[in-house]
């Protein structure tokens, strides 16, 4: 078993943190995991991103050309990564920040109005957690409880007042289950 996830967006959208949270959760589950930020040629193109590889065996490349799943937090990220998702893979899109539909029909697509939901929750910073919740609902990789636990254990104490809100954000995102791939 190996799954690769790319999380991409603008700097400041919580891309790197969402990836780290996933990494902590995988580590706590006893899995092998790598986290690598946008680096080298990936730096170009107005997106910040990180790649998380989760496996039950020693991980080779920490970078992938065809990820199992992508979270695209803005339009440049959608444009850049839509074609790269593996056939049958998962694409979670922040609908609030794009002005088009996804063109591919051979992948599972969850369009999530994550900015709107985060604003409804009263904290714009929750956008990444809404999208992470949607990813976990569509990619069989880690139970949402594992990520909630990781959040509690690895979020600095001073942010613990935000734990409930983070959980709520993930639950809201988790309701966006992609339709089955049309044949």
């Amino acid at each position: 078993m190996q799954k690769e996830i790319i999380i991409a967006g603008f700097g400041g959208q919580g891309v790197l943190f969402a990836g780290q949270l996933l990494t902590y959760a995988a580590m706590d589950q006893g899995l092998q995991v790598t986290w690598i930020p946008s680096y080298g040629p990936e730096m170009r193109g107005g997106t910040a991103n990180c790649t998380v590889v989760i496996s039950d065996d020693e991980i080779g490349s920490p970078m992938v050309s065809r990820p199992s799943a992508v979270i695209a937090m803005n339009l440049p990220s959608l444009d850049k990564y839509e074609d790269k998702v593996k056939d049958g893979g998962v694409l979670v899109v922040n609908q609030s920040m794009v002005d088009r539909e996804v063109r591919r029909s051979d992948i599972k697509v969850a369009m999530v109005p994550a900015n709107t939901i985060a604003e409804e929750l009263g904290d714009k910073r929750m956008t990444n957690m809404v999208l992470l919740g949607a990813l976990l609902a569509n990619l069989d990789i880690l139970p949402v409880e594992a990520v909630e636990k990781a959040l509690k254990e690895h979020l600095p104490e001073r942010h613990h007042k935000l734990l409930t809100l983070n959980k709520e954000a993930m639950q809201r995102g988790g309701k966006y289950v992609a339709a089955a791939i049309s044949a």
Binding site: Q20, T23, T34, Y39, G40, G60, S61, V64
Partner: protein, 370 residues
Amino acid sequence: MAKELMKGNVAIAEAAVRAGLNAYFGYPITPQTELLEYLSSRMPELGRTFLQAESELGAVNMVYGAACTGARVMSSSSSPGTSLMMEGISYIAGTELPVVIVDVMRGGPGLGNIAPAQADYNQIVHGGGHGDYHPIVLAPANIQEAIDLTYGAFDLAEKYRSLVVILADGSLGQMMEPAELPEMKPAIMRTPDWATYGSEGRKKRILSSIYLDPPEQEKTNFRLEHRWQEIKANEVQYKEYFLEDADYAVVGFGTSGRIALSAVRAARAKGIKIGLFRPVSLAPYPEKELFELSKRLKGLLVVEMNAGQMLEDVLNITRRQIPVEFYGRMGGILPMPEEIEAEIDLLVNEPTAANGHPRDRWLARFGKKN
């Protein structure tokens, strides 16, 4: 001990601290800066020395001086910064001092960029500084290995009064992986019979790399060479993957080695009997092991993030007895597993005549695209 999630640069720094690092001298440079930044708070917290020098030249010469006293010392840098340290590195080698240097390689030559590369293999493995000397060079491919090699590097350096270089690249410095840290040691200050820590009550000692009398210099050179023979006999490290029944193998070190592992697995899934040979000690190189392996193979693919520097060593070691091909990315670009997989397909399905140079064939194939 439980695993922790750490960035490569930070993991190397903490491993050095736990190995009893007494004093660190350095100068910031991306993609290595987190190492220095971490130590800037961690070392004083433990009452140990952290000093940001005015330049890499200052840093390497401070390390040189501190090593004379018997203290466990380290510096770190990235490619252009390491180039600046070369004079001091040669002096350290000539004075036979135990020093650990971490080089987190980036794209070059020149100022290049801050992306990961392996283009300083020749500089580090085959010298860089002037004169006959041999540093021990260790190339981690993951964060656990970076920790373990750094932790052991100081003992190695002291055992042989040798320079030890941890040769990593920007991606290893920047990535995070769970890893286990070793036991904490107190700051180490040794009193070996050569160190200059104050001569009260005994004859004075002089540490220097100056031997104005050529026969004395040659005597030192022979001592270094004999010591290197001993290091070669005892300190070789490498890792093998899927080689038991392999007809082919990929040879790669550090990051390109671990990326090649993904390609090897994909090729195995297609039924190609291929494995991976990953040298961990680049100096001493696992020469015998690679030669013995090559005798039972139909072909080798060398993968590097440079234009084929280790390739020359592999060609020498395998004595051109079997077909060798090369694939490299340069300038800060990581090879992707699919690219290596395509090269494996080529090696297996369209073997070329063994004459000619693998670098020429690689350039002919890829030069056109660029």
